[in-house]
């Protein structure tokens, strides 16, 4: 790992619990991302995914440890790290253009109105909302609102995008379209992206790396799964890829059973060296202690049947 664009180093989050006790959501969490990488985090509710994202965004501070982005420890929020909120978080008293322009004028304070407007318009066009600039968020559908959220995040040309289940409130069709657009935009602009999701297929379609987290409290990052699908994958033939089901089954097995039992079954789990799982390359698979290797197929066969 030479190019660590983002490095989360041993962070913990604790809350004071009842009767002076402290609840540890997670501790000693290490995680790194390369520049331009699209990473998804999957885990059950309560494992601290959103807390990790908020710490990355600077909205929350870790109880221990540090986060280094682009060679610098982060302190607070930054215009380099844009957040796309689950609930889109548009300002309802501003129009579409007003919401995006607010972000633009926050980044470039010396710009005049015309320049801000032109810049905002570019990003509204990019997410396909041309013609709706003067509508208020209440007049938009859920999908359109989230498009505005994406345009607002992109308009400040961040170094990385943080997304907290951005599509979970949308219907399946809209979700598909927006996933396509986010993927296209991230590839085009070389964004580093960190996304929380509950949707396994979304993670497989979008991510280069998938982080699997065990259940909280006391959640750990169990595995980093490298996505074996090619970078120029398409939505329509995704499921025909020979490794698709192997990957999907691996993640679902983790969510269904191993996310509960992982901590107990893997006492020598080293949070600093989280096993990297390469689906379909048995030679490179790091099998965790006491667990039989999960990847026994070879590319080209029908991996879904062996699981």
């Amino acid at each position: 790992m030479t190019d660590k664009f983002v490095s989360i180093e041993g962070i913990a989050k604790r809350y004071p619990g009842a009767g002076g006790a402290t609840t540890t959501v997670f501790e000693n969490l290490w995680l790194s991302m390369a520049r331009g990488e699209f990473c998804c985090v999957i885990g059950h509710s309560g494992c601290g995914k959103t807390t990790v994202l908020n710490i990355l965004a600077g909205l929350d501070a870790p109880s221990e440890g540090a986060v280094i982005v682009d060679g610098q420890a982060i302190a607070g929020t930054s215009l380099d790290r844009a957040v796309i909120f689950q609930s889109h978080a548009l300002l309802p008293w501003r129009t579409v253009l007003g919401n995006v322009a607010y972000a633009v004028s926050s980044k470039w304070r010396s710009w005049d109105r015309a320049k801000v407007k032109a810049h905002a318009q570019t990003f509204i066009d990019l997410v396909g909302l041309t013609g709706s600039e003067h509508k208020r968020p209440s007049e938009l559908s859920g999908g359109m609102k989230q498009r505005v959220g994406i345009a607002r995040a992109l308009s400040i040309t961040p170094k990385m995008m943080l997304m907290d289940e951005p599509f979970s409130a949308l219907d399946a069709l809209t979700r598909g379209t927006l996933q396509d657009e986010v993927r296209r935009i991230c590839l085009e602009t070389g964004q580093t992206a960190f996304m929380i999701t509950h949707d396994v297929d979304e993670a497989i379609y979008l991510a280069d790396k998938i982080f699997l987290m065990t259940n909280g409290p006391g959640a750990v990052l169990a595995e980093v799964v490298e996505n074996p699908l090619p970078r120029d994958r398409g939505r329509t033939d995704l499921h025909r890829h020979p490794l698709y089901y192997a990957l999907r089954n691996h993640i679902i097995d983790f969510l269904v059973t191993r996310s509960k039992t992982f901590v107990a079954e893997t006492p020598d789990h080293d949070p600093r060296n989280v096993p990297m799982v390469h689906i379909g390359k048995p030679g490179l698979t790091i099998a965790s202690n006491g667990e039989e290797p999960r990847q026994t197929w070879t590319p080209g066969t029908s991996p879904g049947l062996t699981a």
Partner: protein, 279 residues
Amino acid sequence: MTSSLRLRAGLVSIVLLAAFLGVWHLATRSTAPVATMSPEYAKLMGLTATQGKSAMPGPLDVGAKLWEHVKRPFYDNGPNDKGLGIQLGYSIARVGTGYLLAVLVAIPLGFLIGMSPLLSKALDPFIQVLKPISPLAWMPLALYTIKDSSVSAIFVIFICSIWPMLLNTVFGVASVRKEWINVARTLEVGTVRRAFTVILPAAAPTILTGMRISIGIAWLVIVAAEMLVGGTGIGYFVWNEWNNLSITNVIIAILLIGVVGMLLDQILARFTRMVTFPE
């Protein structure tokens, strides 16, 4: 459908008004027996005893008197005989001054308290104690310290209209949606700009609601305050006409107090609609 509903509602309102006026008219007809008495004695007695006229004015008497006032709203025949327009003007000016002063204090202070949990907790006991005090209870203290009855009335308006505005501003500012604050934080928006571009628009409907409650209370209180301080104003007019035993004028004043109060409320309601945003 809605227009027909409005039409029907308007019709019912008119029928109710007519019924009320009719009952009032019937109830105040001159029916009492007329006693025979010497003209000397009759001069000392009211019209009730001499002509059997009801002591309560009927709607026609009130209407005729109201028309007189409407024709000459701004006459000034000395301290005890001024047009209703002048009297209402004094009251509105007092309410306006006290209210605006309260706005100038309550909204910035409410912002500070709402944004600072420390101040909020520290000032809470003071607000809780001061809020339920009847504004008129301040009157002796105000008269003693300010030594001017008119300014004291303004002070009473100020003190009574400050609390709903202050509390609503605090509440509105403190309950701005976390995600909107987070948007501003991720965009590195400074505290002052955040206050004006996120917190103020988000809290504006709540603040305006507080202002609307305040103007209602201020208008309620001015009548009582002017009864106490005397001299001018619609409250003084009511008390003066009571001393004159002119029930007709008292009824007219009551009607006008209601109308002006409604107008003040409607103005604030319009402002509230202007800043309300659909979600």
